[in-house]
């Protein structure tokens, strides 16, 4: 299977480009938060504030033909893989121009053109699917890899154990990327696990495990790139733990009350880190600000596209239902 997309241009994105993608993601989530509060997006909404570097850094090392699996918090993959934002927001609003015509919503945007076969809102699915994708890639022997994005909450699921074992057993070209954002909804990591250094779990399966600062987008890019190279050349799976912090609520339904607000101070905002580094490397503040402004405009244009999109036609669903009920039509 091959994918056509503009984001994989064969070059590894530099910090300027990574910063741009993080700005787009930040503005996308700001816009989605607003749309949710306006009631224009119904249902759960899992935003990625604070985790931009982990998500954007992870997809930076991929090329055309690679596959990415994702979770209920998948916006970083949407932006990182370069999905068009207008349809992406339309999908979250349940409109006809969404990639899935409104059937999937914000957690389930499948777009095979970008190697995104299906994120899933079920914790653990991204691991199970990655084993299957990796197996297909191993048999095809074209050097393609699967980036399996998952979270700290998933490591306690049975799916993690089953998938990590199979990925190691069959030496699959899979990078298990654990975004450790410290919380599974309201439960802090240290209240879910005794061993909080999650990368160490890899070794139990015979999978090299490595921990990276998840708020440093270049560090994430380089760490994942190394794991991707291993996978491409037959070296098997790697477990990368990116340590970050979910500054966002779990979802729009989060009642709060479970976090000490000072704990966020341990983490520097990933966009600030990237911005400071760009300026230290000689970029002008005006240029960096312009990147941010352009990102805001890009998102605003996409929101306008989505708001203009009509509601989907339900008649297709009736036909599908007839097929599965066995009613002749």
């Amino acid at each position: 299977m091959t994918y056509s997309t503009t984001v994989f241009d064969g070059r590894t994105p530099d910090l300027t480009e990574l910063y741009r993608r993080m700005c787009v993601l930040r503005h996308l989530d700001l816009a989605l938060d607003h749309l949710s509060h306006q009631g224009k997006i119904k249902g759960p909404m899992h935003l990625g504030f604070g985790q931009e570097a982990a998500g954007i850094g992870a997809t930076a090392a991929l090329r055309r033909g690679d596959i990415t699996t994702a979770t209920h918090r998948p916006h970083a993959q949407y932006v990182g893989l370069g999905l068009p934002l207008g349809p992406t927001i339309a999908e979250m609003m349940g409109r006809a121009d969404g990639q899935c015509g409104g059937r999937g919503g914000h957690m389930l945007i499948a777009d095979p053109d970008y190697g995104l076969l299906s994120p899933s809102g079920i914790v653990g699915h991204s691991l199970l699917l990655a084993v299957g994708h990796g197996y297909s890639q191993k048999l095809a022997n074209a050097g393609d890899v699967t980036l399996c994005v998952t979270g700290d909450g998933s490591v306690n699921s049975g799916a993690f154990n089953e998938s990590a074992n199979m990925a190691a057993l069959w030496q699959l070209p899979v990078v298990i990327f654990v975004e450790n954002n410290q919380y599974a909804l309201s439960v802090a990591l240290e209240r879910s696990v005794h061993e909080t250094e999650l990368y160490r779990r890899g070794w139990g399966y015979g999978i090299p495990g490595i921990r990276v600062n998840g708020n440093d987008v270049e560090a994430v890019r380089d760490c994942v790139a190394h794991a991707v190279r291993r996978a491409r050349t037959g070296g098997g799976p790697t477990l990368v733990e990116a340590v970050t912090y979910r500054s966002a609520d779990f979802s729009g339904a989060d009642r709060g009350g479970y976090r000490d607000i000072t704990e966020a101070e341990r983490f520097t905002d990933p966009l600030s880190i990237a911005r400071d580094r760009l300026i230290a490397a000689g970029a002008s503040a005006e240029r960096v600000d312009a990147t941010d402004r352009d990102a805001r405009q890009t998102v605003a244009d996409a929101v306008a596209f989505a708001e203009a999109s009509p509601w989907p036609d339900a008649s297709e669903l009736v036909e599908i239902a007839h097929k599965w009920d066995g009613t002749r039509i």
Binding site: S120, H125, L128, G158, W324, G326
Partner: protein
């Protein structure tokens, strides 16, 4: 046509499809070196190698979930789940994955996945190795649920399942693997979503599923000796349900017994009875009768298991009652006030 057991027919289908399409892979517990606990995958490892015939760890959700991922990325996996009781562990992958992703993606993501498993009582295997949980899967739009009752359909349905771009779960029956019958050689497909009238009659219809089909044929022979002309319909596909064939037979005879091995409540017999009530009510001479199992877990003791199961006796008894109903109330118009 050639005589084959049900297990050999499955093996024949797998071998032919693996020869035909290199994307077909087989995985499951004990399927490779050992050849499957019922022998359905015997010899495949030697012919197709370890890349395409894969022994898996005991990871039911992992196996079905991974196979779903394979199917989404170009392969056509056939997973064997040793007992359908264990399929409960993989319901997440089926209900939240295979049934969902093709729909959500508007068909851009296809999941040509086949899950083969076996269920059914009759082997004193006890309550964790005898269940029929096909209704769990058949409840899900987006997945085909098929149940072959004979070797020819085992080959035909498995072949059709492998070639389908939709996910298919095939429930085989543990008591049928060693049964032998004539099977078409070469390519043989039984279309998914079709029932079959396997014995024609005019007085009463027995609609039977999987292991109950042999009891239905037995009952038909005994009813024939009593002067009752009995039609037997093999459901074969629980979803999509071939409502046309079922309803046509119900309209023809006006009396219907629906027989399945498992519990009645919320199961296929209830569903089929409802369809017949909805579509053939005007032609019924009596309410639809049902035969199934007592609502208890299947006990291990052979004598208790027999007591729990429905069989040919129950079908004959149910059909006889329907015939009696006709004698008491010969005018079908009068029947319409019942229930």
């Amino acid at each position: 046509m050639r005589p084959m057991t049900y297990a050999q027919a499955l093996n024949d289908a797998l071998r032919q499809e693996m020869r035909r399409d290199e994307k077909v892979v087989v995985l499951g517990q004990d399927v490779a070196v050992y050849g499957g606990i019922f022998g359905a995958t015997h010899g495949l490892l030697d012919e197709f190698g370890p890349g395409r015939v894969v022994d898996t760890p005991i990871s039911e959700n992992g196996m079905v979930g991974a196979a779903m991922g394979m199917a989404m990325s170009g392969l056509r996996p056939v997973v064997e789940i040793m007992y359908s009781d264990f399929l409960t562990l993989a319901m997440d992958s089926l209900a939240n994955g295979a049934a969902v992703f093709p729909f959500v993606s508007r068909g851009r993501i296809k999941i040509p996945l086949v899950v083969r498993t076996q269920g059914g009582p009759g082997g004193s295997a006890g309550p964790q190795h005898s269940k029929s949980i096909e209704q769990w899967v058949a409840h899900l739009p987006g997945i085909h649920t098929v149940m072959p009752s004979n070797p020819a359909d085992a080959k035909g349905l498995l072949t059709a399942a492998i070639r389908s771009d939709d996910p298919v779960v095939m429930f085989e029956h543990k008591a049928l693997y060693t049964t032998e019958d004539l099977v078409p050689e070469g390519e043989h497909l039984t279309p998914l979503g079709t029932a079959a009238v396997i014995h024609e009659g005019t007085d009463v219809t027995i609609i039977a599923i999987s292991g109950m089909v042999r009891h239905a044929l037995d009952a038909a022979a005994r009813l024939s000796a009593l002067g009752v002309s009995t039609e037997v319909v093999d459901v074969r596909s629980l979803r999509p349900l071939d409502t046309q064939t079922l309803v046509a037979s119900a309209r023809k005879t006006g009396r219907v017994v629906v027989a399945h091995e498992t519990w009645l409540r919320y199961g296929p017999t209830a569903e089929i009875a409802a369809v017949i009530m909805e579509e053939a009510f005007e032609d019924l001479h009596a309410p639809v009768a049902r035969v199934g199992a007592l609502a208890v877990p299947y006990p291990a003791s052979p004598s208790l298991e027999l007591a729990v199961l429905g069989g040919a006796d129950d079908i004959v008894w149910a059909a006889s009652k329907l015939m009696t109903t006709r004698l008491v109330r010969p005018q079908s118009n009068e029947m319409r006030g019942i229930r």
